[in-house]
């Protein structure tokens, strides 16, 4: 549609004699009335120290506000997208959050939950001080106590349990970790098998299916470079990393990639897909098996990949001992194995038409090594035997040779950085059967949803129970069993809820310990969001502002609202008090790597880690910064842009030796 309007006589005449400028209607575009550069996407980093914007609440009086911009990471889902916090230089108040364009995963594009952090930090109902229960547990009465009291009372109980070798009575139950390995290190330092998670009501089913193939329990689909994408029960990657993935899925689609979605719901993803396969719940595997058959029958498999990376000979030998061992015979026998899984069978099972199954299977086969897939998560977690869905899905990647390839599906750990922490403690020597009971030897994660039942059965007790960003009373099936267990002080001796907000589980705690939101805490984040590898920093922004202003801050709660703290410092302090004289050997793991014998500070912990991130010290030096300061300034660092085909890399003798040890 042309934007060119008709000019009247007066306008034509006025333009003709130069009274008013001529409008440029070339290609239907109207010349901007403002100078170029008037609109920009985001503040450039060189202006982050003093960024000026008009005060929106005073519009139309043009009152200028000066901000200092501090990067951090979102804490409202597992994506941990990069945020920029705008701190008013005059009032010292955090005014708003926007995307950090220098974050390699989210690239400045964030969902509504990121900017909503401002609602959380200014929530008038938030808990601002540590609270201790008064009266019976669950009675809803609280008194304010100091962090000192909290630390001393909890530390004394833990110390007693450890001294009495009741190490399994200490449990840390986490919903959303939001950090890389900090707590695993703490629990190992204490020598307890105390980690429990929510994973068995979430991703464990699908993880199992993947892990049985190659040991990697999650896949990183390289959506950006894929030619064909198959997503099962994923609405634009509904779970982890949904925003970084969603933007790459859509970019990919915009450049011609075809998308198929298998989901019982017409989800957002399905609505954007080229093929929506609305299977009956739990029948996804039938469709996947039929697709495998089509790929085999029509010769769309990647022979070179299968020859190199599949133990086809071992399989022939085991299942078809009378057959001569050759690749051709392997394919032959495999076809026989899959003969029953016809597209018609798939249609009968799943309701997806034969034509759709064939059509999608052929596109997967043609995409070859650029076939990307994901199962996140309901098909696997919501159906008995759902782990087989992930297992069948991975088979399509195997057949097409699209594992670890550009545009394929990558093992998650290739694209995720594991920080090198100071003085790592040895693994604990305990096995906690409340988490991993012996009758479930194949449990891929803790049998967390059974915990209250185990306690009720008298299989054990918990002396100190930490819940963190975890609300099983509300989110787990059978919430009332959790209430029963949490009410019973014989079964759970002490319950400390580490949480930024009130919740149903915190209601049954002895201590409610307010922990910070995205802009009020330290964490390291590194996730498999694309083919690169990156690390990001979550930091308490007002503490960073204080540091920039030359103000000394010892603990993060000094700059947070009220006495809201952060876990990192809490655990360091708690560990120090569990072992006040060093006799338990715990304190050794919380000593500064830079100041022998002194207690480690949170800054030193991150300094140590960032100094060991490959490429970061060099990048920081180019900016004239230390690695820690670089992360404080920019919030994120991409160490590799592409991590692909690691399986094709020849290892050195040394690497081979290290991989075995």
């Amino acid at each position: 549609m042309s934007l060119k309007p008709k000019l009247g006589l007066i306008e034509k005449f006025a333009e003709g004699i130069g009274l008013i400028p001529k409008l440029n209607f070339e290609d239907g575009k109207i010349e901007p009335m403002n100078d170029p550069g008037d609109l920009s996407n985001y503040p450039p980093p060189e202006k982050w120290d003093d960024w000026v914007e008009y005060e929106p609440t005073k519009w139309s009086r043009k009152i200028k506000r000066h901000y200092t911009i501090v990067p951090t990471s979102c804490f409202n889902c597992e994506s941990g997208c990069g945020l920029l916090s705008y701190v008013d230089k005059e009032t010292g108040e955090v005014r708003k959050f926007e995307g950090n364009p220098y974050h390699p995963a989210s690239r400045g594009r964030i969902c509504a939950k990121g900017p909503a952090t401002i609602n959380q930090i200014k929530d008038p109902d938030r808990i601002l001080h540590p609270m201790r229960r008064v009266g019976k547990r669950g009675a809803g009465k609280w008194e304010r106590v100091s962090w000192d009291v909290v630390l001393d009372e909890i530390a004394a109980k833990i110390r007693k349990a450890i001294k009495e070798e009741r190490n399994n009575e200490i449990t840390y139950h986490v919903g959303r970790p939001g950090h890389e390995g900090f707590m695993d290190r703490v629990l190992q330092a204490w020598g307890v098998d105390g980690h429990n998670s929510h994973t068995n009501v979430c991703s464990a089913g699908a993880r199992t299916g993947f892990a049985l193939w190659d040991g990697f329990d999650r896949k990183m689909p390289d959506f950006a470079n894929a030619e064909f994408i198959l997503m099962i029960s994923a609405h634009l990657e509904s779970g982890h990393y949904f925003n970084p993935h969603a933007q790459r899925i859509i970019e990919s689609k915009n450049s011609g990639t075809k998308i198929a979605v298998m989901d019982i719901r017409l989800s957002n993803t399905a609505s954007r897909a080229d093929h929506w396969m609305a299977t009956y719940p739990g029948t996804e595997a039938a469709v996947l098996l039929a697709m495998a058959k089509i790929i085999l029958d029509e010769g769309l498999y990647n022979e070179a990949y299968l020859r190199n990376w599949i133990n086809w000979a071992a399989w022939l030998e085991a299942d078809h001992p009378k057959t001569e061992i050759s690749f051709e015979n392997f394919i032959l026998k495999l076809k026989e194995e899959y003969a029953e899984y016809t597209p018609e069978f798939a249609e009968q099972e799943s309701g997806v038409t034969t034509q759709a199954v064939v059509d999608v299977a052929r596109q997967i086969g043609r995409a070859g090594s650029r076939f990307s897939s994901i199962n996140w998560r309901s098909a696997s977690s919501g159906n008995l035997g759902g782990w087989q869905i992930a297992r069948c899905l991975q088979f399509l990647n195997v057949l097409t040779g699209s594992l670890g390839t550009k545009g394929g599906s990558l093992p998650s750990s290739w694209n995720k950085y594991s920080p090198k922490m100071p003085n790592p403690p040895p693994p604990q020597k305990y096995w906690n059967e409340l988490h991993f009971p012996k009758e479930y030897p194949l449990a891929h994660f803790e049998m967390s949803f059974l915990l209250p039942h185990f306690l009720k059965e008298g299989r054990g007790k918990i002396d100190v129970y930490f819940t963190r960003v975890f609300n099983p009373v509300w989110t787990f099936p059978d919430g009332f069993s959790w209430i029963e267990a949490l009410r019973d002080t014989e079964k759970i001796g002490l319950h400390a809820a580490l949480t930024p907000t009130w919740n149903e589980t915190a209601y049954f705690a002895d201590y409610v310990l307010p922990m910070g939101h995205a802009s009020e805490r330290h964490d390291i984040i590194s996730y498999e969001t694309h083919a690169g590898k990156w690390i990001a920093f979550r930091q308490p922004v007002l503490r960073e502002v204080a540091r920039r202003n030359g103000k000394a801050v010892k603990y993060t709660y000094e700059t947070n609202p009220g006495e809201v703290w952060e876990e990192d410092e809490f655990w360091i302090e708690l560990s120090w008090r569990i072992d006040p004289d060093g006799s338990l050997g715990i304190r050794d793991y919380f000593i500064s790597p830079y100041r022998p014998g002194e207690k480690m500070t949170v800054d030193e912990y991150y300094q140590y880690i960032f100094e060991r991130v490959p490429g970061l010290p060099e990048a920081a030096e180019k900016e004239g910064l230390t690695p820690l300061d670089y992360m404080r300034r920019f919030g994120a660092f991409e160490m590799e842009k592409e991590v692909l085909e690691l399986h094709n890399k020849v290892l050195t003798e040394q690497q081979l030796y290290e991989s075995l040890s």
């Binding site: 009335m33 060189e46 043009k62 690239r107 900016e623």
Partner: protein, 291 residues
């Protein structure tokens, strides 16, 4: 302070969509920066416009109808004065625009459905004809000059009342959707013009023959104006916002300016002063003029 980033830093790769957005990004509207309430420029422009129209209309009308014999020097003086007030009106109009630099666009990229444009052309035409009349008079072409007096008078009425149609087009301004608004505007001009001429008569004896009639006009126009205020402010309005605006004027922020300035100083006191000195004969003449 930050130093500029070096090239080594990992900037995000800009997608084609980003580039397209940047290339095509343009402002499509100008955010208003005048606030919710009209500022003094609008009130000032209504004032100067009312005088510009009224000050010329009465002497010209008297002359053309033969009601009063008006000296040429008076006609010439009021024409020049009208142009001066018209000039002030123009300056205030331009100053009130969000983008004063673009004031020519109003006239030269006209949107003919807008009374801003129609009003702009009314002002231009009125100013042009009055100037032409002055030129003709100066170079002694009285017959041709007389020919354009009627168009000037018609335009002076339009000049006085077009703002009512302009405010009417501002649909969000509920209070100004009143059907009485054009009457208000006309009365402004009548009051403004006659009062200005009466004030000027203290310094210009040549105006004295006009004074009796002007006094009567002023009295009656003030009376009608007060009645119209009563109709406007003492009755309820069709919308809640209009009621609120009326309440704001009579009881809120502007109550002192309204009761003290407009009603008392601007209308009631002048009316009482005028009535005190009024002769009965004058009154009957006034009645005959208005009815």
């Amino acid at each position: 302070m930050f130093r500029p980033l070096k090239k080594s830093f990992n900037l995000k790769k800009e997608s084609k969509i980003d580039t397209d957005i940047k290339q095509t990004a343009r402002r499509v509207y100008d955010a208003p920066n005048k606030g919710i309430l009209w500022d003094w420029e609008v009130a000032g422009y209504i004032f100067t416009k009312a005088i510009a129209a009224g000050i010329i209309a009465f002497p010209f009308l008297f002359q053309m109808t033969g009601l009063v014999k008006v000296a040429d020097s008076v006609l010439f003086t009021v024409a020049i004065s009208s142009l001066l007030f018209l000039g002030l009106t123009g300056i205030l109009l331009i100053k009130d625009l969000d983008q004063p630099k673009r004031f020519l666009y109003v006239l030269l990229r006209p949107n003919w459905t807008s009374w801003l444009v129609k009003g702009g052309y009314t002002i231009t035409a009125f100013g042009g004809l009055v100037t032409l009349w002055c030129v003709l008079k100066y170079f002694d072409f009285p017959i041709i000059a007389d020919l354009i007096v009627w168009p000037i008078l018609i335009l002076s009425v339009l000049l006085a009342i077009y703002t009512a149609f302009l405010f009417g087009q501002a649909k969000g301004r509920d209070f100004w959707q009143s059907p009485l608004l054009s009457l208000h505007m006309l009365l402004h001009s009548v009051v403004g013009g006659s009062a200005a001429l009466l004030a000027a008569s203290m310094f210009l004896p040549a105006l004295m023959p006009l004074v009796p009639l002007l006094k009567e006009i002023l009295i009656w126009s003030l009376l009608i104006q007060l009645l119209s205020f009563a109709a406007e402010f003492l009755s309820s309005h069709p919308t809640e916002d209009a009621n609120k605006a009326a309440h704001m004027i009579t009881h809120g922020t502007f109550r002192t300016a309204f009761w003290g300035g407009v009603v008392l100083l601007g209308n009631a006191i002048p009316l009482l002063l005028l009535i005190g000195k009024l002769r009965i004969a004058g009154c009957s003449r006034g009645l005959s003029f208005w009815y």
